[in-house]
Symmetry: C2
Subunit: 425 residues, 2 copies
Amino acid sequence: MTETVDLLLVNATQVVTCASSGPKRGAALADVGIIERGAVAVDEGRIAAVGPTAELQSRFRGRVHLDVTGKLLCPGFVDCHTHLVFAGDRVDEFERKLAGASYQELLAAGGGILSTMRVTRAASLDELVAVGLRRLHAMARLGTTTVEIKSGYGLDTAGELKILAAIEQLAAAAPQDIVPTFLGAHAVPPEFAGDPDGYIELVCKEMLPAVAAWRNESCFGALGVPVFNDVFCEQGVFNPMQSRRVLEAGLHVGLRPKIHADEFVALGGTRLAVELGAVSADHLDATPQEEMAALALSETIAVLLPGVNFHLGSHHFAQARRWVEAGAAIALATDFNPGSAPILSLPLVMAIACRYQRLTPAEALNAVTINAAHALGLGDRLGSLEVGKQADLLVVDAPDYRHLAYWLGENLVEAVIKAGRRLRA
Amino acid sequence: MTETVDLLLVNATQVVTCASSGPKRGAALADVGIIERGAVAVDEGRIAAVGPTAELQSRFRGRVHLDVTGKLLCPGFVDCHTHLVFAGDRVDEFERKLAGASYQELLAAGGGILSTMRVTRAASLDELVAVGLRRLHAMARLGTTTVEIKSGYGLDTAGELKILAAIEQLAAAAPQDIVPTFLGAHAVPPEFAGDPDGYIELVCKEMLPAVAAWRNESCFGALGVPVFNDVFCEQGVFNPMQSRRVLEAGLHVGLRPKIHADEFVALGGTRLAVELGAVSADHLDATPQEEMAALALSETIAVLLPGVNFHLGSHHFAQARRWVEAGAAIALATDFNPGSAPILSLPLVMAIACRYQRLTPAEALNAVTINAAHALGLGDRLGSLEVGKQADLLVVDAPDYRHLAYWLGENLVEAVIKAGRRLRA
């Protein structure tokens, strides 16, 4: 007797599950969970079964039956660190950077984040939703089915709430699951030039309560989607004491921490992440060995963002192999933003990570699926092909998962299935 | 009175012509020839006019009229160095390389080019055409309208002629103009292990006459498309004396030289290219300053292939700025091949070149259009938007040509017009 399900995909050359009871570390990172000549049964938006085609064909009949001979099935990609809602671009700055200006020089000259703040403050909510939606559709074509989006280009209460409102509208309109993060402490706005403590006071006393109130009224509570609170802990931006204040104030209103740590200078941000139970610490280009070890013993995910180093034409990358050897659960993300990472493609991020951080293709794939889901607190719900999880999966035009990181600049994603439904390009 | 033309494209935010009376060098490389609010008139597959929209609208009426407000028009990309016809992939080797094996180690162990030779020899002509066509369609979606394809995975007379036959079939079936290059001297085949001179003898005495005979019967003569003769001049492959022999034998049967020079070790390949009047010298990662100067004074194009360095995870790239400063006419190409450059995307090559070779976006765009056309001897026919040239052009979803190199991993090419006809995705 066979059970009828909404969708049955059969004859995949490989089903790559990325299955794991928790974030993958060490040797587990090298295992993507391959089922050859595999099949996936999907019902009511969830995964009903994963296994060999012969077995699933005997158990299930699909209302829709899809033969994917010669192709690969894998989990939808999870982009766990983006700044996707912004107006304008920074193509002028890109040219100046090519001529040799440093990130901190551009920042000090009132460029960088603040130039995007100006155009984003001036943009309407509708404009922000429109450009955001276009970017999310491009990401969907490249296989990304869940996207974290940070605020942080408003840098005043109204501006930050406008971006959060745009993120909420995108959550309703976009093909992906959207996870919001408040990043009021992204930069010191011009109103507080020279007074970062004054701005931190505003973030803690006015913005964070307003964000908590917004969260309670928003769709995200009902969806069971967490809202995170992030800070850019970096020399010339916010020091560890200011960062701690922001993250503790967020915890006080029920927002779990994330942190931008050790991108250029190691200030102790990773230690702070561990101490405060942050869901992730991100960038980690300059983290000292002892802080790597501390994070590896914690539940905090190490999110590496090599697209940034690539975009900046840098020869220095986060030491991904040391992070793996330390036993950390690593994830990869785009850091999509107009200044340091105009990159929407997680396969390209995987490709960079394999070549310049010496991750294996298996480690890179786990890092954009199951571990990236854990970096959003959603590892029990998505990020792998396991029974009961949301049916977010990709049909990839390749016989073998390693091709995802091997071919460069080509989109191998042939079809995207989100919560059981096939997306239209 | 208005003239009726097949196609009139109007209101481009920029028309980028890349116009030039010859290959671009020095300051000319920094100029892409921008017409704001521009228009292009196309008739009988050729460019009838390029200019401001107001002017062209008063002169022409288009049977098809396309308003491209907010978009960019630029020449179709020319990929002037690929090894596109091969069977199989080298994803296993990719993993071994990530673990640290060098290119020359893999070559010495019978891997590398020879592993692709084995599967390509075993493949049928139909199989080679089928995989080649798939790759060419992917390239077309990414904006490439002209593709050079080298033989070199046969390494015996029948095998090389089979690949040339595949290239000829692709020329009839593919959306692009195809330019064939004979690369019999790509590696020493197992039949001549330890006897490179014996293999060179075969290339010169048997293969080159056979290739010349094939060329005379092929479509390429009628199309006015040159057939080139190339050699891999490199330590452990063919020395300059052997390389010279191959290139002179080619000249003797009317095949103009190209050369793989200075990829790993400087052996004098660039000087040889200049001496023999090669249409291009390619790779050039290790060229000494005095040979740069010699090439800059010649008609030979310097073809840089940074996708290779990127794929190999290398921190060393050809010194593009020195080439520009020396006065060389530089082009960029993918070097598409399964071992050292599994990359089909010229925009990604431009992106790498800007970040790791410090080319400006303008230099990079000229390097994949007008200069790449000259690297194929076709600079008078295509590669720029000028009256009388073949109407190969792209509608790009960006307001400014610099976006092509700025955004990473996203395909901004919205429509491809080849010889006046719009290609279907």
